[in-house]
């Protein structure tokens, strides 16, 4: 039994070997065929492997270089914008970081917008400005009323030395719209210190009129007695020479002019007007010439003081008398961090003298012959405070104003002196838009009735 088992085992092993051989021969043959044929796409040859490896190394190096570049650009400040650079030229924007590229693009757009805006009519050498006003007045003894006015200012810079300035006032009063030519002046810069102007210009001797009368500049709804619509002309028709001379840290301003002389009112339905000067004497009745000037001194930027004088003959040619108008002005403006605000103090006083004249010599008008001492004077002092340095956004736009103004003409046909105390409260919507409220306490002597007033005004400068 033992002997037969090995034989059987040997036969079995041999059979299995043969069977396995037969089984593996086709597989080996197949494998041999595969090794000798081209590889399928799922497999990478050595050549391809080496090629891919080389490409990978190159890409890795390129990526490292890009990373370094980005890091360097991010750490550096954004590139300065190039004025006037066209968008198409901004190829660098692609390579720059997003923030810098956005900023540069924004700057270019702004520049282009400005350039386009400047091509609009009236924006290169011509400028249209002005101011508008709407107001309400309730004065005791009079009917309350609303009023409105619009002043258009035309500026034309013809050359670097030649400027034309015109101002038209449109005002609604007495149920009709009136139009006044306030300014029509051509100015030529002769040199750094001299400018000559011809035409109709604001009266240089009247500081308030030249610098403060615009409603968005004037801090109260109405204008001071005597100084405005009183003893000094608001404008002159003639020629002026003006300028400024820097003297170290100080400045000396000057203006001198020749113009049509004012007229002398010798006849009027309103007796109080007798002896006053007619500053709208555009036809120059009487044929006289007024000569005047103003000198201002600015010792420090916050302070300005000045003096002006105008002298002329007035009245009919054969009975002309002398008229001398004088004005002294003071202006103080201080932006004070200590007081947390802007303080202004302004004052101006005016004197008017008209020589001896016999009014209504024949008595035809019913009040003559009349002579009187035709000296008048008046002016104002004003202070204001606006807390511009405080943090509250509303309070910093509020401004308080106090003004005292006075007009002395008791011994003239007017027959009374007048003084007023005015308290005002302003709210500035923008630097050139303001809402004003004011209450005026009026006091007249000579038996005239006091006329307190409540005033409101909205004014916009543009």
């Amino acid at each position: 039994m033992k002997r037969a088992t090995p034989i059987i085992m040997n036969q079995t092993t041999a059979g299995a070997f043969v069977a396995l051989t037969w089984l593996f021969i086709p597989s080996a043959a197949i494998a041999q065929d595969v090794a000798s044929s081209p590889p399928p796409s799922d497999y990478v040859s050595r050549v391809e492997y080496d090629k891919l490896k080389a490409e990978h190394e190159a890409m890795k190096q390129e990526l490292d270089a890009l990373k370094a570049t980005v890091k360097q650009l991010t750490a550096a400040p954004p590139p300065a914008p190039v004025p006037g650079k066209a968008v198409s030229e901004g190829k660098q924007v692609v390579d720059a970081p997003p923030e810098a590229a956005t900023e540069e693009l924004r700057q270019e757009v702004e520049t282009l917008k400005a350039q386009i805006k400047e091509t609009f009519p009236g924006t290169t050498k011509f400028l249209l400005g002005g101011y508008g006003t709407a107001g309400f007045t309730a004065r005791s003894g009079e009917d309350p009323f609303f009023d409105a006015a619009f002043n258009a200012i035309f500026l034309f810079k013809m050359t670097d030395r030649l400027l034309f300035e015109g101002e038209l006032e449109f005002e609604f009063e007495d149920n009709e719209t009136t139009t006044n030519l306030e300014i029509a002046q051509a100015s030529y810069l002769l040199n750094d210190y001299m400018t000559i102007g011809v035409g109709r210009f604001l009266n240089p001797t009247n500081f308030f009129v030249e610098r403060q009368h615009m409603n968005w500049v004037n801090k109260l709804p109405d204008k001071p007695l005597a100084v405005y619509d009183g003893l000094l002309p608001e404008s002159e028709l003639g020629a002026q020479l003006r300028g400024v001379v820097p003297i170290g840290p100080t400045k000396l301003e000057y203006a001198a002019f020749v113009a049509n002389a004012p007229g002398l009112i010798t006849e009027s339905d309103d007796f109080s007007e007798i002896g006053t000067l007619d500053f709208d004497n555009d036809a120059n009745f009487g044929g006289h010439v007024a000569v005047g000037g103003h000198v201002g001194f600015i010792p420090i930027p916050q302070i300005e003081v000045g003096y002006g004088i105008q002298r002329s003959k007035v009245g009919p040619r054969d009975q002309a008398v002398e008229a001398v108008l004088q004005s002294a002005d003071f202006n103080y403006v201080q932006d004070s961090p200590l007081l947390k605000g802007l303080i202004t103090a302004r004052a101006q006083w005016v004197w008017s003298h008209v020589g001896h004249f016999v009014y209504d010599p024949t008595g035809e008008q019913g009040f003559g012959p009349l002579t009187f001492n035709n000296n008048r004077n008046g002016g104002y002092a004003q202070i204001s405070y606006r807390p511009t340095h405080i943090d509250n956004d509303y309070l910093k736009n509020v401004e308080g104003v106090f003004r005292y103004d006075r007009f002395n003409q008791l011994h003239t046909p007017v027959g009374f002196d007048e003084q007023r105390w005015t308290l005002g409260l302003n709210y500035w919507l923008t630097p050139s838009a303001v809402l004003k409220l004011a209450y005026e306490f009026d006091d007249k002597n000579g038996g005239a009735r006091d006329q307190d007033a409540f005033l409101m005004q909205a004014a916009v400068g543009f």
Partner: protein, 106 residues
Amino acid sequence: MKAIGVRICKWIGLPGATILISCVALMWLIGCGTNKQSGEVAAGTTGKSGAQLWAENCIRCHNIRSPGSLSPAQWEVAMMHMRVRANLTPEEHKKILEFLKAGGGG
């Protein structure tokens, strides 16, 4: 010459004549001696910046307006107007204009 002076004094009065004659003579002499192109900086400059001069001069009469409220071209015209009206020196005019134009355009 004396007769002319007397006639002028008689015509416009001594104060007026003094102002007129002295101003005209002084300005003409100074102006002729330093006749520059408009906008050039005169001698004796203050050394202040445009922003400082803008704040000092404009506020003397009215609230200061933002540089962006006018375009650079418009500021050119407005500043020439203010040079005449507010008696700005050439230096002040030049520096303030540069400041306003740099901040303008809106």
